[in-house]
Symmetry: C2
Subunit: 199 residues, 2 copies
DNA sequence: ATGTTTGTTGACTAATCAGTTTAGCACGGC
DNA sequence: GCCGTGCTAAACTGATTAGTCAACAAACAT
């Protein structure tokens, strides 16, 4: 039941927002009653933090596989962005909207008001950033890109990635995400293998 | 009074969020009563849209000056990011938090639930993006950068910029914004004039 | 068998929410 | 003097909110 509650919470909050998702609505979707909710969680805010953490834990294994050191560094990004695109597209079929990154949407919404959730998001985002850093470091070591400062490069790509997802949500349009790997390559400083126009 | 209401609305919604900012609170800060509110605006949602638009209209003249075609293209960005940094720092002194970009925060929060606000944000963001596009086009024309596709480059920088502001809000930390011009130059593909280390 | 832990239930507050209503104020035109 | 017009005041509605509470159930240990 605890898991049903966190699942319902992520679903609803991601699709709508933290502020407009009521505890009642979460309970309804989870098939639970208010009492059960407050048996497991002492507040809406604590549930949100738990839900974000649970969601991340679920995705972690998949991230480890996509960003495995056995995969060529630039392919890690390519596969990752492809997965994100597919996931958002599938989700759109269900709810009609492009939802972007839940961490960013929720984090941005509550950051000035809810320190528990804010710190949870902050910590998870930092963990996620590490995948970027290590892939970039590897790419640099293999001479695929020039990134003497992998952390700075990762920050740039990370920001670019999240900015694109945020815009996709606001515009309700996946177009920018579909072509994101191109932008990523550009930000990473990979040489374009442009097909030269004839004549 | 209408202006006092939109000012109060932007202030409160930016600092907190759309969902947690009540009409009562907006009226309080504006020194107005509910009746006045609903005389000028027919709903909270319509006020939010009007407030965002009014806020943008105020900033527009300044944007025009910063992105004036008489300013060298890369300096436009430099000055702009500097202004944004200063603005956020000043605001932090007042409310203790880094607030990021109101368009992005609010847009991301309400995008799936409020089409009026969503479209307002979408339109304003598109207008803002044009400043980037034209500066990049000029920079390319002057041989400062290589950007055969200025729109794509602008999208990348725009996303990177907004992603950075969103992270600054979530982390409540201006650090990333302070150094953003460096990242911007990197994304734009400007050659670093790195001071070579001796020995 | 008996008590304890672990979970569930539904009714309950007390506050807050967006939005309405109605009466009234100050003002200039006529 | 009188009337419309632009705006304000304050009380109100009805729905919704997060969170509480005491009674209850089933499993499990002793």
């Amino acid at each position: 039941m605890k898991e049903r509650l966190t699942d319902a919470a992520i679903d609803l909050i991601w699709e709508n927002s933290y502020g407009t998702t009521s505890v009642d609505a979460i309970c309804d979707r989870a098939g639970a009653k208010k009492g059960s909710f407050y048996y497991f969680f002492k507040s809406k805010s604590e549930l949100a933090a738990a839900a974000l953490q649970a969601d991340w834990n679920k995705k972690r294994a998949h991230m480890d596989s996509v960003f495995s050191p056995t995969v060529p560094p630039l392919e890690r990004f390519e596969r990752y962005f492809e997965c994100v695109y597919e996931g958002l597209a599938e989700r759109q079929k269900l709810c009609g909207s492009i939802l972007g990154c839940p961490m960013l949407s929720i984090g941005s919404e509550v950051s000035t008001q809810d320190q528990v959730v804010r710190e949870t998001v902050d910590r998870i985002l930092d963990t996620k950033r590490n995948y970027f850093v290590s892939a970039i470091r590897d790419a640099h070591a293999q001479g695929l890109i020039s990134a003497p400062n992998p952390e700075a490069k990762a920050d740039a790509l990370f920001a670019c990635y999240h900015g694109t997802l945020a815009q996709a949500r606001i515009q309700n349009d996946l177009e920018l995400v579909r072509n994101f790997n191109q932008i990523a390559l550009d930000v990473l400083g990979v040489q374009h293998d442009v097909v030269p126009a004839s004549a």
